[in-house]
Homo-oligomer: 173 residues x 3
């Protein structure tokens, strides 16, 4: 799938204003995603997905083998909202702060109006002891659709490289 994405975008060498505007809108969605998670606005984070979204966090080995088991596997937005409620009750978000960095965003528009996207991410975490460190690195594999409220994630698969990951109560990445 990634090869196809690369091939599709290789030919797009002279971007028009249309492709710039598309990129900008998708980029803004990704930036709002980072801003919501980094600034403890988890409720806003759930609104960036469609109602029937797929959101999952899977280790790279599973993704390579096509195995669906991962840290998080949500098949609609309500499951995301339930998770946020759980996280609020567990007070996980008071104990650390996260900073999401992203790069390498490559887009492939599809005939049905949706957009396939991939990007790299690095999450830096600061725990209560005050030290900041690289918590996780990986890639986002997205299918993004236009809704009346703007572009939203119909699918966001978070595939992480790092295997030393806390699995007790997984937080969104």
């Amino acid at each position: 799938m990634t090869t196809t994405l690369a091939e599709r975008t290789t030919t797009a060498t002279t971007p028009s204003l249309d492709s710039l505007l598309l990129w900008f809108e998708i980029h803004q969605l990704n930036e709002r995603y980072c801003a919501a998670l980094d600034n403890d606005r988890l409720e806003e984070w759930t609104t960036l997905f469609t109602e029937d979204c797929l959101y999952e966090i899977v280790p790279r080995e599973n993704a390579d083998l096509g195995l669906p088991i991962g840290l998080i596997h949500c098949t609609n937005q309500r499951m995301l909202r339930d998770r946020v409620v759980s996280l609020r009750h567990a007070s996980i978000y008071e104990d650390h702060s996260c900073r999401h960095m992203t790069s390498g965003l490559v887009l492939a528009p599809h005939g049905d109006g949706s957009v396939q996207a991939e990007s790299s991410y690095v999450v830096v975490q600061t725990r209560t002891n005050g030290e900041s460190f690289v918590y996780q690195a990986g890639r986002y594999l997205d299918r993004i659709v236009r809704t009346p409220a703007g572009w939203r994630y119909a699918q966001r698969r978070v595939v992480y490289d790092t295997s030393r990951v806390i699995t007790l109560l997984a937080t969104p990445i």
Copy 2:
């Protein structure tokens, strides 16, 4: 305040060319900011602020409590230039190099023509022993105004998550 910023931007789902151009200009300012600090052009860095700017670096706990005490508290551009002179004399900048990564830029234009902005940052430092590591993570809270010379920071508050921070002679973040 952050909730307000989120609410204001939530409605902006169909960006026009105007919002793209505004984003681009603010983004360019932020990129020049990173480039100036990362490439030891501290004198250029001071010119990215207005004459009567506020620039401060405060720990997250203080920012949450509204306490003004921080690592750096400068209330005009001259104080920034004085600090650069001090840093040059102390030869701090020969001893390490920094790379500023940013993400999650969200803008809210105000009626008076200024722009409120927030973004996440991660600073990676390399010391003389040659190791690179995450030095600091946090967020920028900005008020940016248009001047004859272009967009400039009227206010940049650097709120850091990391509490293990060197306080002897604070360098700009």
Copy 3:
């Protein structure tokens, strides 16, 4: 040279649509570069350079002294392709994954149609033990030219801050 670049861009305070489009095209090239390296598409990575390109990775001390010796010194695209073949045979790329983060992109268009660019980078690596860490930080110094296939690197000099770098079989940065 960096001072000149800073001076050139200081005057560009009111970006037109032209400068936005130029920035977008160069940014897209940089993003494809990161995406190719991060997702193990090394063959695609070589196609982002001109046939007679210069690609080198040099430590900061050498760059400051004007010394040409570095980890990698390739003077055309064929040498890049040869290196990729070597890396594939050595199976280095199965053993780790990389995430390239960049920031601080500043451009200076030249009269001959080429563009001089600088940016900061941080590479996060995950080894087989599953830990993610900052592997390398530094800056890119580029000369980028327009070709029939789109913008390509005529020159990319990778100047790294980190001196604790693996030199046995250098991978592209």
